[in-house]
Symmetry: C2
Subunit: 511 residues, 2 copies
């Protein structure tokens, strides 16, 4: 019995040693303090931060400097080719001895432009608290309600409140609460706050090259974007890239009367239709040989994909179609493949403006969503080879008169916009297991794991430049009207976000 | 010898009897008198006649009444549902005994609207005489030059001078010259001058029903349009009709992010491309079974078609393509078949406005040029059957939300504009032989015979309502800028037009 007690004592001592401080009850800490952080939130949200308007950036940098320095961080505004990016870091009093020592967090404080007339409030830059009324409409309620409690379904409406100032505010609140509760993080924390994300982060990769040593870390977490539609806790391991091509086919060099030349002058819309139709089957699968080469989804990944609680029926109802394309066995699987999507197609006019002509050209805009296995150069060259196989000469400009007379079938193929690259972090690596543990501490259950989200983010060059494992930790409600009018943040997500930050910053090393 | 002389005398007497008056030398008559008719021309051309502007019509009716009554015609302004049409007729002093007794001529005095700023002269309603300068540009010359002679390559520039007031003025000049030279026409001449042709002749068929007895005739000649591109004398025996259909295919009911839904939400542009591509082959031939049924071009017709002096190389150079579609063996043959031409195709946006979306719908505007063998109802039903064969449900309106969820493939098919019918008069019938003889007297050679022109004219319901043989006698130069700025009439065509009118009005019966 004594021996047993001794063993227990030793075990307890070891445990105590392993975690230097008793495990904090995150939930009670957040609930105790949260009402003190709405003032901070309000103060930051009233600062416009549209990256198109240079003068709006500096006040945000000033505010951030003060906020992070108050929490013991050293800060810098790092010059770039565009607006400066904000950098803050804090070393731990007692460093961890595990494999993860330095954590880098990426967020952005710039917000989308606004169209104030579309907002149902005085100004997008004057935060408003709303609850959903009996008729389903959002109704303004007094901000001071937040001092006596909150309903997780209430929302704060303001530009950038979810994309992406909210997560920054959650971090600041979490750091403050930890200070108040004397909870230390054993990690060297680095925070980089972008000022140009909403304009495509054009200078970020270059800045990373320049500040690579400063940003060095063991693991990068991107605290941006919305959770899974179900609003369940979510981690995202990758996203597709994008390349955009433009195809043009040609008819007569000026539009011709369709009576006089219909049946004689070649029709560019028919050419384009025949070309596009030849690239995919009835179910939306690309039929160009080799297009999907290199993609293999193993049984484990397939299991994780299948575990995402998507509702095909909800998507179907929401989007309004009878049956989806059949590129993957389900929605998540479809996103693991590159796409070949006709995003625009125009030849002459329709409706009241339609003329009885044989038009001169047809233009198709196509986007290829890229996955890590599909090099965009290879995809574009496969498309070119396919088009040439249909008897076309491919040019990278309009044909000359001589070329029109010489080649019966001409396509102009250009790339319209700069490419964005894909990224994907493997499931099961150490940072994944560590982060998953933090999420389980926060929510008491496994997060939804998104292997690859369909959209593209401008910070991928940054992720790739740093060459370290990266996982997105989306915190806000997906239905936040991001990029549109009436952007909002659900209070339940705000509070859970603070808790998530505390869990991550205090997460012990895992096995 | 005596017997022979007697025979010759009797023969001469008979000949004299057969043609009551000596055969006039049309060329010398025209050359002698033509300089006296430019004043008339000027007077009529200064009257605007845009059918969209009601007040412009009456002064033209007044002018025509005076002009025709001066030439011994009785006239009427026949009320219709729109502007009145002008009618004039004159019975012969000595009627012909042959099969053709009454000739009906259709022309129109209304002209296209004008954009004065695009005209290289003070006003489209102030006729200007021009010659082509050394640099190929048209240069104004003094109107009085016409009093001392003319160069056939000079042109008169004014709205409606070729389309279609010119032929009316040629008739008036011809009638006057015949009066001066005491040449009578043995025909009952009826002239109907439309006031709404350029706005689609919406009330003409109805007016014909009402005035059918007044318009009764043995042969209808339509003195409108331009000669063959070669400017050689031309007769046109028919024209294609037109029906327009609009197809719409559907994707998600609102545009979706192509990252999130590319590979999953069906793409309407792909659907449309696949549908359109399935309707025609690589050479532009319709592959829908039965589409060309009923059309057969016999050896004689094929010979006449082949005799039209088209230059495929000129068309190719002018339009700028390497090879034409292969519906017919040559250009004229292509026009004997119905077309299925994509005149407009739009799905979302292109260029700077392109978004990375899966669009919600694709719309194709299609025109079917009709020939007499192809009932438009039959063609449209063949197209419908073809689309249904591809697994589509066809609606005549947008689908409801329920239908979107129920049917994987939906097409909306509507007819956008009212149809225009085709017409064709057979080669070799009596009026053709008679008119050809008149043309040979005018020009000393066979006219080019166009079996069917590609375009559609709004007066076909009128032709069909009258149910009599009809042939177009185009008189003006084809490069007359009809419907555009700087409309003009070549003086050579004006003079030959007067001669053509005299030849027709004095043409004897043929065998």
């Amino acid at each position: 019995m004594k021996k047993l007690l001794l063993s227990l004592c030793i075990f307890s001592l070891i445990s105590l040693f392993a975690s230097a401080q008793p495990k904090p009850n995150l939930e009670s800490i957040v609930q105790k303090h949260v009402k003190n952080y709405y003032a901070d939130l309000y103060d930051f949200m009233v600062l416009p931060s549209n990256a198109h308007i240079k003068e709006q950036i500096q006040p945000n940098l000033d505010w951030l400097k003060k906020a992070f320095e108050k929490r013991g961080f050293s800060t810098e505004a790092l010059p770039t080719g565009g607006h400066p990016v904000f950098f803050a870091e804090k070393k731990p009093a007692t460093p961890t001895s595990g494999p993860l020592k330095t954590l880098l967090f990426y967020m952005h404080f710039d917000g989308q432009p606004v169209e104030p007339e579309k907002w149902q409030q005085e100004s997008p830059y004057k935060p408003v608290l709303k609850k959903r009324g009996a008729n389903g409409q959002w109704e303004k309620i007094d901000w001071n309600n937040l001092q006596t409690g909150y309903d997780p379904e209430w929302r704060i409406f303001a530009r950038a409140v979810s994309d992406d100032k909210g997560p920054i505010l959650m971090l600041l609140a979490a750091l403050d609460m930890m200070q108040k509760e004397s909870i230390n993080s054993p990690y060297h924390i680095k925070v980089i706050l972008d000022s140009e994300e909403e304009i495509g982060a054009p200078h970020l990769a270059e800045a990373v090259k320049k500040y690579k040593e400063k940003l060095a870390a063991d693991f990068l977490m991107v605290m941006d974007g919305g959770r899974h539609l179900s609003n369940e806790p979510t981690l995202t391991y990758g996203c597709r890239g994008i390349a955009t091509i433009t195809l043009t086919t040609y008819g007569p060099k000026t539009p011709q009367h369709s009576g006089h030349y219909g049946n004689y002058a070649p029709n560019p819309a028919l050419r384009m239709a025949q070309l596009l139709a030849s690239m995919k089957d009835e179910d939306g699968r690309v039929t160009i040989p080799g297009y999907y080469d290199g993609i293999s989804i193993d049984a484990d990944a397939r299991k994780i994909l299948a575990a995402v609680p998507d509702s095909p029926e909800n998507i179907r109802q929401k989007l309004g179609f009878a049956a989806p394309d059949k590129v993957g066995a389900n929605y998540q699987e479809a996103l693991q493949y590159p796409s070949l999507n006709i995003r625009g197609l125009v030849c002459a006019n329709i409706g009241e403006k339609a003329n009885t002509i044989v038009p001169e050209e047809a233009i198709a805009e196509i986007d290829l969503r890229l996955v890590p296995e599909t090099d965009p150069d290879r995809l574009v060259s496969l498309i070119k080879k396919h088009i040439e196989g249909k008897g076309y000469v491919i040019l990278n400009r309009k044909p000359t008169d001589e070329e029109r007379l010489k080649y019966p079938k001409i396509v102009t193929l250009t790339e319209r916009e700069s490419r964005m690259l894909p990224f994907r972090t493997d499931f099961g690596i150490y940072p994944d297991r560590w982060l998953t543990a933090a999420m389980m501490r926060t929510f008491g259950k496994e997060p939804i794991k998104i292997r690859m989200t369909g959209g593209s983010v401008p910070i991928v060059p940054f992720l790739r430049e740093l060459n370290l494992p990266a996982i997105h930790v989306p915190m806000v409600n997906m239905d936040n009207n991001q990029h549109a009018a009436n952007e909002n943040l659900r209070l339940g997500n705000y509070v859970e976000g603070i808790k998530t930050w505390m869990a991550i910053l205090t997460q012990e090393q895992v096995k």
